[in-house]
């Protein structure tokens, strides 16, 4: 355990060595929030306007919850794994008595803690300036369900990222491309990070909700907002647990196959 605590500590230190980078990364996030805010604010500028069953207050609530969920779930250092595999840096980890998965999971957690800390600060400032209609969940059971949904989301994202990062074992030059396709394109559109999934027509909504993607963003957000309750909450948990387990097993399998192909490039 001490191993991974040390990794947590050193990851934290490293994040701080490039202070300007970190600050700029946060500034970018703030701008993203402001742009999103004014975009939706303009769309709903006419009083009483409703789009896809969302009015101004509802969409603003969705967007602001999304920001928090996003910074917890999608901030991950493990995006570097794919280049570790392609360039042979993986060797440095395999040679030492520790788990590569646990190593990156620890680094991810360190990154999430740091990002969450700053996101909370920014959120407070923006909240005061923009005064959006934000919904504070006070029901403790709903909040606990939300936390569980977040944990599952983190696990699903981690396994998915590691499966994609294994592509360079077989095709070193496809690392970035496959990551772009899955992480940027599919994840952004199908997770609810750009628009709420429930604006889709019924059939498409059903299809998307059976994929792992919405359980990384949309599902936790809706749980927080108290929009998913009772049977559908349980159903959602069943599906996301199933995905978390399936993707974890797939990750173990893909990596045990991939490591046999590993060529330890670069000398």
């Amino acid at each position: 355990m001490n191993k991974y605590f040390q990794i947590f500590k050193i990851s934290f230190q490293e994040e701080f060595t490039y202070k300007i980078n970190f600050v700029m990364w946060r500034v970018r996030n703030v701008f993203q929030i402001i742009v999103t805010y004014y975009l939706w604010d303009t769309i709903f500028s006419a009083p009483g306007r409703e789009v896809f069953g969302y009015d101004r207050a509802k969409i603003m609530t969705y967007i602001f919850t999304l920001i928090i969920v996003r910074s917890i779930v999608l901030s991950a250092r493990a995006v570097d794994v794919s280049s570790d595999v392609a360039e042979g840096n993986l060797s440095n980890y395999l040679i030492r008595p520790m788990s590569y998965f646990k190593y990156w999971f620890t680094r991810d957690i360190a990154s999430k803690v740091l990002n969450l800390f700053f996101a909370a600060g920014e959120f407070a400032i923006l909240f005061v300036i923009l005064k959006p209609p934000f919904f504070f969940q006070t029901n403790i059971y709903v909040f606990l369900s939300f936390l569980m949904a977040i944990v599952l989301a983190i696990l699903i994202y981690f396994s998915l990222l590691f499966i994609i990062s294994a592509v360079p074992f077989w095709a070193p030059e496809l690392g970035w491309g496959s990551q772009f396709l899955v992480i940027i394109v599919m994840l952004e559109f199908l997770s609810g990070a750009v628009f709420p999934i429930d604006i889709l027509p019924g059939v498409y909504q059903k299809i998307v909700m059976s994929l792992p993607f919405p359980y990384m963003i949309f599902f936790p957000v809706q749980v927080y907002l108290g929009k998913i309750t009772g049977m559908s909450l349980i159903q959602g948990f069943v599906i996301s647990i199933a995905w978390a387990v399936a993707l974890y097993l797939a990750m173990r399998y893909v990596w045990s196959r991939g490591l046999k192909e590993y060529q330890a490039f670069g000398r």
Binding site: Q13, N92, I95, R96, G266, R267
Partner: protein, 329 residues
Amino acid sequence: MDRAIIVDHLVKNFEVIQKEPGLTGAVKSLFSPTKKQVHALRGVSFSIQTGELVGFIGPNGAGKTTTLKTLSGLLYPTSGFVSVMEYDPWERKPEFLKQIALVMGQKNQLWWDLPAIETFELNRAIYELNTREYEDNLKELVELLEIGKLINIPVRKLSLGQRMRMELTAALLHKPKVLFLDEPTIGLDLVAQQKMRDFIYEYNRKYQATIILTSHNMDDLVDLARRVIVVDEGKILFDGALEELVEKFAKEKIIKATLAKSDGIVDLEKIGKVRKLAFPEVVISVPRNAIAVAAAELLQNFAVDDLTIEEIPIEDVIRKVFKGGIFGK
């Protein structure tokens, strides 16, 4: 003496996708990739005793690094048997990994943006060393490698030679019993090279550590390795003492002579290959089996003050090995 490393009929094939040059080639390989089998190791067998220091030599791409990577559990053997201290390296058991180290001249495990001491601390946790062990080992390495002032400077600000010594420290903190060194002196200046060699020698002697070293640096081999294994095209061509290598593979011997007169000096070419001519000193190389005749001829036809017959310097033989030309291809 027990055997620390056993390798038997080790084969490793790689599949590589071949790409024709240019953009058309890139597009083509995307749709119909041409795969090619590369035979990196074709049935390699050897064993190494505990405490031995063995040099791996051969031209680039001969399979030296592939062997080291397989022995340290990074590569999955296509076929054959590998055992390092009775462990199967591929399983990468923590008890195994705690006893070995692989140092690759150009790969680094140090955290680039942080002082090296942070990586050392991390390794202490990873290798589960107790405070006492860690502090003793660190102190010793710091003294041996003379890096006391450098451990608190961010790694990116260090020179290559300084960084290499840090890498070595990070890799040896857990006192590995088996050490794989891949080009440990590459890119270092002469003084740093010598320091590195002294260190490797000491480490081997002091801890009875088993060491395999690959190098293109002549001095590394001559100073350190009593036994060498010559690898070329994935096969072992020679395994034995460094001196035997010369006896076995130097097809020529050398005659060194001091001449009294410079008369007829051009005719020296008739005796053998003139390697050096700086009157009165001449150096001629002659095929091994013709050495006696050549010496007699020299004494008969020239005014010789002094004459010695020597083996070709070990460096020349090794240089040939690096070029891959040792077996008269």
